[in-house]
Amino acid sequence: MSGADDRDSPAPEASAGNRKFRRWFTPTFLMVTVRGRYGAIVVPKKDAFRLPRQTGAADPALRRLLGHAIPVGTAIGIFLIWEAGVRMFQVPTYIAPAPSDVGRTLVEQWPLLMRNFWPTFYESIMGFLFGNMAAILIAVAFVHSRTVERAFFPIAVFINTIPILAIAPILVLIFGAGLTAKVVIAALICFFPTLVNMVRGLQAVSPETLELARILSASRSEVFWKIRLPSSLPFLFSALKIAATTCVIGAIVGEWVGANLGLGALIIDSTFNFRSSLLYATVFLSSGLSVMLFALVTIAEKLVVRW
């Protein structure tokens, strides 16, 4: 039996319209003549359409460096303008601190910031785990029973429509001022996007694949573990990326309502005491936490979803 041959190679197919476009709109210096066994044809040079991206930096390492330099440079530029603006217009520190003030506070108040960082970190992680776990399990129940879905989906939607700021005091009243209420709020805010995405993911199996499973006489649990669950993973990770950033917001909102410790409590405290540099430093730290969780989920996705 003959092996894989060239006409069956996995080249991405250009659509007919796209090919026609390329043939007519490519300057001749970007074209090459290819002689094959079906005669000679004129096609665009490989990468002809990447030309604008190649300006100057031919070396891939240099190009990668440039890729990082542009966003970093932009951020530095914004900080410099901010610093200059605050100094030039002599804005009082309690209204808007200069980046250098915020930086100094970050260093000087590091122990205080860290003391408040860890509770928020813990609440966010626990909320992330419990919220997503609950969402995944309920999604599994929904997919296996239309009755369960009909019964509980409206309730899930209803809970999701209550503003988190309204539900937070209720939960603090129920669970007290301790960590539990914050974990529940963080979990609640993660819950809904993951539920919706996971249900979609578990249902994103083509009818033909289900027919294949039936022809193989697969059991429900085999269909779930071998087909539905793996095919839901890309959907799940999209939801987890949302949850990674929102769980921090949930924890902070919970701390606003009543807490002695945590980034949320520190935000309230520094606002009321006009310690603007500390407020800004806290805000940077909380977004840093979100970014870190987001990055962790992204790394996990790269490791798990390889297809």
């Binding site: 039996m1 793996p230 390889r306 297809w307």
Partner: protein, 263 residues
């Protein structure tokens, strides 16, 4: 044999349909189909769209039930045949699991039912050898997205063969491929048929493909779906692509085209 031992006679056929009817609600998808598919045969099914070509394969493979009439596969009910993995199905879309490599996709049927101690027939050829049989040696670890449409369909064929089916049901498997790839896979399929002795029931909407592959062409008609004619194709095996340029071949295609247009 046969008359004295009806069960034995039924076992000589890969599939037997007697006055089989399929209804979807009030719509009759297949009306009164009777046929006897001999073991080792290669039959193709041709007909206008909506005539129930796919439904016929789904009837044989226990995916849709018969409203009346009888369907048996290798002397068993379709359900028994499904549980014994007597047949395999190849869909128009390769239906590979995108997270599994080519090899792991071929192995899938062996994994399903293993924990429940279901006795699964296993081909003498290993999954690796089956991939080589369809010309994919060296691509065992490729993910489906790294393979072309034709290659994916070949993985699907290897997967269908892994449980040593006696009947292979193919629903327009090459319908979405370009003509050169399709020609190539047609030849490969004929070779696999010759090497494994599997019975093949193959749905297509291409008249030349139906004539090139089939020993017989079942011509179905629409509204309601019914069997109009079984056309014997007297072209000796093994067939080469250039058979299509012979007058005999064009005689068949012209006849079938007239039949198709007359419906």
């Amino acid at each position: 044999m046969g008359a004295a031992d009806p069960a034995g006679a039924a076992r000589d056929y890969a599939a037997v349909l007697r006055n089989a009817v399929v209804r979807f609600g009030s719509f009759t998808a297949l009306q009164d189909i009777s046929l006897e598919l001999e073991q080792g045969a290669f039959w193709t099914i041709l007909g206008p769209s909506g005539c129930g070509k796919s439904t016929m394969l789904r009837l044989v493979s226990d995916l849709v039930p018969a409203a009346s009439g009888e369907v048996s596969v290798l002397g068993k009910s379709t359900e028994e045949a499904r549980l014994a993995r007597e047949f395999a199905f190849v869909f128009q879309d390769a239906t590979l699991l995108p997270w599994r490599t080519a090899l792991r996709n071929v192995e899938l049927p062996l994994e399903i039912g293993r924990r429940r101690n279901i006795k699964i027939p296993v081909s003498d050829r290993s999954p690796r050898e089956l991939l080589a049989l369809v010309g994919l040696q060296g691509r065992e670890d490729a993910l489906p997205r790294e393979l072309s449409g034709g290659m994916r369909q070949r993985v699907a064929i290897a997967r269908a063969l892994v449980c040593r089916p006696k009947l292979l049901l193919m629903d327009e498997p090459f319908g979405a491929l370009d003509e050169l790839t399709r020609d190539h896979l047609n030849l490969q399929l004929l070779q696999i048929w010759a090497e494994t002795g599997v019975t093949i029931l193959f749905v297509t909407h291409s008249i030349p493909e139906a004539v090139f592959l089939g020993q017989k062409v079942l011509m179905l008609g629409a509204n309601p779906g019914r069997l109009r004619e079984i056309v014997d194709i007297d072209i000796p095996s093994p067939r080469a692509i250039k058979v299509r340029d012979t007058q005999e071949f064009t005689k068949y295609t012209a006849y079938l085209r007239r039949l198709l247009e007359a419906d």
